[in-house]
Amino acid sequence: MNAAEPLLRVRGLTKHFPVRSGLRSRGLLRAVDGLDFDVRPGETLGLVGESGCGKSTTGRLLVRLLEPTAGTIEFAGRDITHARRRELRPLRQDLQIIFQDPYASLNPRHTVGRIVAMPLQVNGIDPPGGVKARVRELLELVGLNPEHYNRYPHEFSGGQRQRIGIARALALRPRLIVADEPVSALDVSIQAQVVNLLRDLQRDLGLAFVFIAHDLAVVRHFCQRVAVMYLGRIVEIGDRDDIYQRPRHPYTRALLSAIPDVGALGPAGRIRLTGEVPTPLDPPSGCRFRTRCPRAQEVCAREEPTLVTRDDARQAAACHFPEAGPPTPSHPDAAGPGGAVVDATPAGDGAGRLDGNAGEVAR
């Protein structure tokens, strides 16, 4: 971590939900259990993992929709972990969220104009030119017809609704947007449009994103850095190309090899994980992935691996026995253990953006 001061600094972020059956407490559901990561200004961090690994809980913790059990969240140098509503006011403007379900995230009884203007209204902001002009500007920005101001959400398609949600998140000119699976409820054809819109906005407005998704292809398209979560912990975090081409953690490898990629199955084929994800009520001792890990040994049950950078790798992986470096079979272009020669643009090392690198993806 070098260059610019991180915009968002998360240390030891933890959320435990008490689980009750009847009156007796039945223990804690460790949804998120000690996350450390940074997001620099203008950077996109992808948060990937299976269902139930704590991705969405993390997103809600970041925008303080949930109260963290432990750990700290620092935004632009200020500790906001337990800030109260009034203290959060100025911060709300810098930190917004886009939701997964475009059908549930818009109030069905409000017009589009009212929905988009809501953050302005709630914070008592009167933008120059008036609220209505600002709303029209926002609708135009997300590619909607500003004349649709007076329409209701039910008159729009899923993709358009998601654009309305994006316009609402942009209303306060935030610096960081948490996007909680913003495209997974959409048609594949619409997904690309919305992701491209988000990327254009990210570039033009210099937004930082925490992009939560289970679709690795979308994350690869959109994010400069990627964090892989398993059972409430980050198992590997690093720059996109390092994660996708030289994954060190066995879980990341398994995830990547599960991407349906027609005709690109290498000799090693798919890594199949057996068994179920253990319950977060009672996570395994030591390394949480050990129960399904092909490389697990006795030490894995005793000691919890820390998230460290090992050997010649540039990303950090939480594993006692990280993969030595051969690329995943599905990406034969990244040859050799080092692999850096292939990688012309070292992604995300500086605070700058990745226009050259991101341009590789067809738009």
Binding site: N107, R109, M118, V122, N145, E155, F156, D200, D204
Partner: protein
């Protein structure tokens, strides 16, 4: 900016939108309320029952006008039109051009004008009680549902307590006691006081169902993402309850309101019938039916008019409530 002002892809989506092909040049969004109104207008049952309700309400509002045009007061007695046994002269309980619905046996009062007055009393009590219960229920339901925790627990506990109290027994015990407390043994209890006590008794027992209904709705809405979006933008409690939640609650509130009114009409009639509601001085359905029972065999016309009117009123309200629910929430199954 690389974002084009109007994304062609988004515009292409617009064309296929439900309203897009119809509205053409001027984009006029149809609000959920307008859609419900359009659905209601297509529903014939709803229209007929609605028209009946409008008629009843107009009659109730125009009572002084009707009385003036009809030329007979509710307490006027026409003893000269009764025979020696106190039964009205003529056919069907004394129906004539002057007395449209005939006369009461015994006292000889005009049934039509008493019916109209009774309609006004009943509708006023029922609507006032329904409004009061709706307000109490909505406030308690939203607060309990949204805040949860101990507030919810307390409201639930009070709801259970209220439901456990026997309505009839308390109404029977409370009404005379209150009257005695304020007006003594001999004084005449004014009609306004009796009406107020009736409304209070209904409000005391009636809010529970609305509160439960609203609480459930709020709990379901609370987890919706648009509520979280407002919270993430820093909205306060007032904005949450009144701007975000309440507009989504109008449908169930309206339906429960329109179904509560007929229940209170019959409730008032029942209480007046067993003698704890209104006295004979105030014309009401319950008292009229109670008095008519003595003459069920000798003068069946007396029970016919108030009976049919109360039936029509309650029936119209119930049908309209159903139609309203269908219009507001077409996806719900009955």
């Amino acid at each position: 900016m690389s974002v084009s002002p109007v994304d062609p892809a988004a515009l292409a989506e617009t064309g296929t939108g439900p309203g897009g092909d119809r509205s053409g040049a001027g984009f006029v969004g149809r609000s959920p309320g307008q859609l419900a109104w359009a659905r209601l207008r297509r529903d014939r049952t709803g229209l007929v029952s609605g028209a009946m309700l409008v008629f009843f309400v107009l009659v109730a509002l125009a009572v002084p006008l009707i009385e003036w045009a009809y030329g007979v007061g509710p307490r006027e007695q026409f003893q000269s039109r009764l025979d020696g046994f106190g039964m009205p002269l003529g056919y069907a309980g004394g129906v004539t051009g002057e007395h449209w619905f005939g006369l009461e046996p015994g006292l000889g009062r005009d049934i039509f004008i008493r019916l109209v007055h009774g309609l006004r009393t009943s509708l006023f009590i029922a609507v006032a009680a329904a409004v009061t219960t709706a307000v109490i229920g909505v406030v308690l339901g939203t607060v309990a549902g949204y805040l949860g925790g101990w507030v919810d627990a307390v409201v639930n506990w009070v709801t259970d307590l209220t439901l456990a109290m026997p309505f009839l027994i308390i109404a029977l015990a409370l009404t005379p006691t209150l009257a005695l407390r304020f007006y003594g043994q001999r004084d005449e209890v004014p009609a306004a006081f009796q009406i107020g006590v009736l409304i209070a008794v209904f409000a005391l027992f009636g809010w529970t169902s609305t509160a439960r209904l609203v609480r459930g709705q709020v709990i379901a809405l609370r987890e919706r993402e648009f509520v979280e979006a407002a919270r993430a933008s820093g909205a306060g409690l007032g904005h949450m309850l009144f701007r975000q939640l309440l507009p989504n609650l109008w449908a169930p509130i309206l339906v429960s309101f329109s179904l509560a009114v007929p229940a209170y009409v019959t409730g008032e009639a029942a209480l007046s019938f067993i003698g704890v509601g209104l006295t004979d001085a105030t014309p009401s359905f319950g008292r009229m039916i109670y008095r008519s029972l003595d003459y069920l065999q000798t003068d069946p016309a007396y029970v016919f008019f108030p009976g049919v009117t109360i039936f029509a009123l309650v029936f119209a309200f119930n049908l309209f409530g159903d139609a309203l629910r269908d219009a507001l929430d077409p996806k719900s199954s009955r």
